[in-house]
């Protein structure tokens, strides 16, 4: 009897038994991830800046880009940003149904954005302006495609979190996750500002 007692008393512990999140480190850690993601986009922007004028006797941005479509796309992403903001406000208030509603609206706007972007890509490729046409188009598809891929995964993440919130409610873990996605989603909107200013608008100006 005494032997077992000693055993349990001296049993070494290699892990923390209670969940431990030191002072908001998730925020900073996720911010560092976003900053590293920012560097990926910086490299892609630099690539586009260097080769964006090499058309290989092919079409130039002024021939290809349809600014009204880009304007609608930009509006979709901007709307999704503000609706995600509303979702966060509802989360702070503790309204589960309202949070889910605004997250769903955000997902819809994000999906429309991706749909329009795919429509644009398909049209470009159909016109013979695919990524293999010229250095400009390679850089364009890489930059805009990477952004679109980020938004796609953001939507997947959003739907996952909606399921989580619906199942477990607005528990601290889910709030933390929603906060991270919030940073990710707004960051993608920031990158899109660079894309529409630098690639689309300045491309059409020439």
């Amino acid at each position: 009897m005494s032997v077992t007692k000693i055993d349990t008393a001296e049993k070494p512990q290699f892990y923390l038994t209670e969940e431990h999140h030191p002072e908001g480190s998730t925020n900073l850690g996720f911010w560092l991830y976003i900053m590293s993601d920012c560097l990926i986009f910086a490299i892609l922007f630099a690539t586009y800046a260097v080769v964006g004028r090499n058309y290989a006797a092919g079409p130039s941005p002024a021939d290809l880009f349809e600014l009204p479509l880009v304007a609608v796309n930009t509006a979709m992403l901007l709307f999704s940003s503000i609706t995600y903001g509303f979702a966060m406000l509802q989360m702070e208030r503790g309204g589960k149904a309202e949070t889910l509603f605004w997250l769903a609206v955000t997902a819809v706007f994000g999906a429309i954005f991706i749909g329009l972007e795919l429509y644009e890509f398909v049209n470009l490729i159909h016109e013979g302006a695919g990524p293999q046409r010229s250095a400009f188009l390679s850089a364009f598809f890489t930059l805009v495609g990477t952004h679109g891929l980020h938004v796609t995964f953001g939507i997947v993440w959003l739907l996952t979190l909606m399921t989580q919130v619906a199942k477990h409610g607005l528990v601290p873990a889910n709030k933390r996750r929603l906060m991270c996605l919030s940073m990710f989603w707004h960051f993608l909107d920031v990158v899109w500002i660079g894309v529409f200013s630098f690639v689309y608008l300045m491309g059409v100006v020439g």
Partner: protein, 135 residues
Amino acid sequence: MTTHSHTHDDHHGHSHDHHGHGGHEAAHGSFKSYMIGFVLSVILTAIPFWLVMADVFDSKSATVAAVMILGAVQIVVHMIYFLHMNTKSEGGWIMMAAIFTIVLVVICLTGSLWVMHHLNANMMTMSPEMMKNMP
């Protein structure tokens, strides 16, 4: 903003104290701040699109400069009103990481353009037509 975070602290302070509140403060916004950010973003998006689509300026460089400046301003607006960045969040480390990243981005962009420009300039001279036909 201060009153908001204060009530949050009161609400949660006794239930679980292991969760950092100083860090959470960074991600808080109010309806008003989100709307200010949204309205500013709409204005700052609409102006460059209008400038380009309606061909407002005669000179190209003026349009390009305006688009770039408005884009930069909008990025700052997003950082403040949507990403809730300030100098105090996470003890200043968020801002430090952001400044470090901005420095890296600037070095990367200007460095690439500078080096590649000189590379082009030192190659055989090219006419604009040849330049256009470059792969």
